[in-house]
């Protein structure tokens, strides 16, 4: 189809930018390593300092891969939610999915002190944290879906998302009175969001969930496109609404839940990237949007992470701060230019 051919160039451009931003992300860090040495280490050759090769393989590559997976997953889950709710302001963070995950994490991290009778402190580890925050995000997602079937108003949904944020904050405040400083700090650091703490085995779990979510989205491509006309039209064209809605919700939950579990609640990427992508790919066809959003999300988070670690200094800013600085203006811009909310 000639329609699709005009997107070849943007896709190639995105591919090149993705490659460049990966290299940039690998090349810059708290320890300054000359760029040719980075390339040398990547190809598998030796570096002039033993430690450089170690830093690159055990720190920078996992971090870059995490950024790619997190950025792609969040953006795809944002796109799915926007189509599912037919609401341009939907996204895992604004709808409170991330708050749900935070609540799960907070209850686990700080709650262990309270119900220590049941759980020993050793119960708190990566896996239990991942499970707790995934359960939290799934629960909120279910509530949001229940509400969305009753309330058609898009603003009401957003306010509900905000309320979940408030509830989380309130419960965290209450819990923090009863916890030791050490656990409070652990939670706070988790809530800052980071892509730098994953080891290779955690990375595999994240990669698997991104793949699973992407696979389910590809299966849903046709129904996603039909849903653009609204549920009644979709049904009249032979879409099995209930089934495809479940698949899309499960995909969203897996994508947003796993990311938040491992990388913390990362703000705005899921909401902003689909809109930024639509500025380049002026289409509503999910066959184009899904791969484009995956690539764009990866690029944006790689760049945010590069900024967050303040190259050559030993400071690392919370990545959440960077994504919010980029993401919040996008939301404001969307609201001011109503026309851009058309999707």
């Amino acid at each position: 189809m000639t329609e699709n051919r005009k997107y070849y160039f943007p896709f190639i451009a995105l591919g090149i930018i993705l490659l460049l931003s990966t290299l940039l992300n690998l090349g810059l860090g708290s320890v300054s390593i000359p760029f040719d040495e980075v390339m040398e280490a990547l190809i598998g050759g030796g570096t002039s300092k033993e430690s450089w090769s170690y830093i690159i393989w055990n720190y920078r590559i996992p971090k870059a891969l995490t950024a790619i997976l997190v950025g792609s997953s969040l953006s795809l889950s944002g796109l799915l939610m926007q189509t599912l709710f037919r609401n341009p302001l939907a996204g895992p963070f604004v709808l409170g999915i991330s708050s749900g995950a935070s609540l799960g994490a907070a209850l686990l991290i700080m709650g262990t002190a309270i119900w220590s009778g049941w759980f020993s402190y050793g119960f708190l580890n990566d896996v239990s944290l991942a499970i707790a925050s995934s359960i939290g995000s799934f629960l909120v997602l279910l509530i949001v879906v229940l509400v969305a079937t009753r309330v058609k108003d898009s603003m009401a949904l957003l306010i509900i998302g905000l309320m979940f944020g408030s509830i989380t904050a309130a419960i965290v405040t209450v819990l923090s009175y009863f916890t030791q400083a050490e656990q409070l700090q652990q939670y706070i650091f988790w809530s800052f969001g980071t892509v730098g703490n994953l080891n290779w085995s955690q990375l595999w779990i994240l990669a698997a969930s991104t793949l699973a979510g992407t696979f389910l989205s590809i299966l849903s491509l046709k129904s996603l496109n039909a849903l653009l006309l609204g549920e009644q039209y979709a049904k009249s064209m032979g879409v099995q609404i209930r089934k495809s809605r479940y698949i899309i919700i499960i995909a969203t939950g897996i994508l947003a839940g796993a990311v938040t579990a491992f990388a913390g609640p990362i703000a705005f990427i899921g909401l902003a990237v689909p809109h930024l992508t639509r500025q380049i790919f002026n289409t509503t066809d999910h066959k184009i949007l899904v791969p484009a959003v995956l690539m764009y999300g990866a690029i944006l988070l790689l760049l945010c992470d590069t900024l967050a670690q303040l190259p050559t200094s030993s400071y690392v800013l919370p990545i959440n701060a960077i994504t919010s600085i980029i993401g919040a203006p996008v939301v404001i811009w969307l609201l001011i230019r109503k026309k851009k909310m058309i999707f």
Binding site: V239, T283, F343
Partner: protein
């Protein structure tokens, strides 16, 4: 082609059943255009949505091509009946061509790729509705009349023997109302499709439709416009305090 026998439509909630209209019987054949008319709230849209299988009938039967409609599998149903609804489009950034292309949904493969045959059907629908020069426009750039034509073209691309439309001419000026209705009439007659729509423009329906279904509280009548005029059915649609039907001009007159 499209028949209903003693149909009762309404809503069923967990607690109660609300019957909106009952004893609806009609029979539209291939190549006929029919209109559903009646006062606000009498259940025109409910009937149309029931015929489109969007909601369940309470009792009675509906048949398409002689088969009860609940016998069709969702996918086969989509090749029998297409709809044009009043619900606003969710995605206004769809291009005209893409939107019409979505009509091919029941025929495309799992990923929704359009084949050469699909493209030809889309082109045919575009030509029929005279949308050639709007093809690459976005839906939010269209006027109400243009958008309505695009939505009808989408239903045409779905290539079904029956097309149902819920108030296709609301929000349009008289010129565009007539234009759309004449196009629908042309589609019914030349493409041998069964077209049924709800409307408040009774005088236009009398001039253009082959059959009319008049919905009233407690009673529904169906027939050709001439027969319905002769039997004074149009006089009973509205309460007699403001307007009356004038059989000579086949239109409504205001009491002076």
């Amino acid at each position: 082609m499209l028949t209903s026998r003693d149909l009762e439509v309404g809503y069923r909630t967990q607690r109660e059943t609300i019957s909106v209209s009952r004893h609806i019987s009609f029979d539209l054949s291939e190549g006929e255009m029919g209109a559903i008319v009646g006062i606000n709230g009498v259940g025109k849209s409910t009937l149309l949505r029931t015929l489109a299988r969007v909601q369940q009938e309470l009792s009675g039967s509906i048949e398409v091509e002689g088969t009860p409609i609940d016998r069709f599998r969702q996918k086969d149903w989509a090749t029998k009946v297409s709809v044009v609804l009043t619900e606003p489009l969710a995605a206004k950034n769809l291009s005209v061509e893409q939107l019409i292309g979505l009509g091919r949904h029941p025929y495309t493969n799992w990923i929704g790729m359009l084949s050469r045959a699909d493209m030809m059907k889309i082109q045919e629908a575009i030509e029929l509705m005279e949308l050639e020069n709007l093809k690459s426009k976005k839906c939010h750039e269209l006027s109400d009349g243009q958008l309505q034509k695009v939505l009808i073209a989408r239903a045409l691309a779905q290539d079904t023997p029956v097309i149902l439309l819920d108030e296709p001419t609301t929000h349009l000026d008289l010129y565009h109302k007539v234009q759309i209705l004449k196009m629908l009439q042309e589609i019914a007659h030349s493409k041998k499709k069964t077209v049924l729509y709800t409307t408040h423009e009774i005088d236009l329906a009398i001039q253009l439709c082959d059959k009319i279904l008049i919905m009233e509280k407690g009673q529904n009548s169906f027939g050709s416009p001439e027969a319905l005029i002769r039997s004074n059915h149009f006089d009973r649609i509205f309460p007699p305090d403001t307007i009356r039907f004038d059989p000579k001009t086949a239109s409504f007159k205001i009491y002076k």
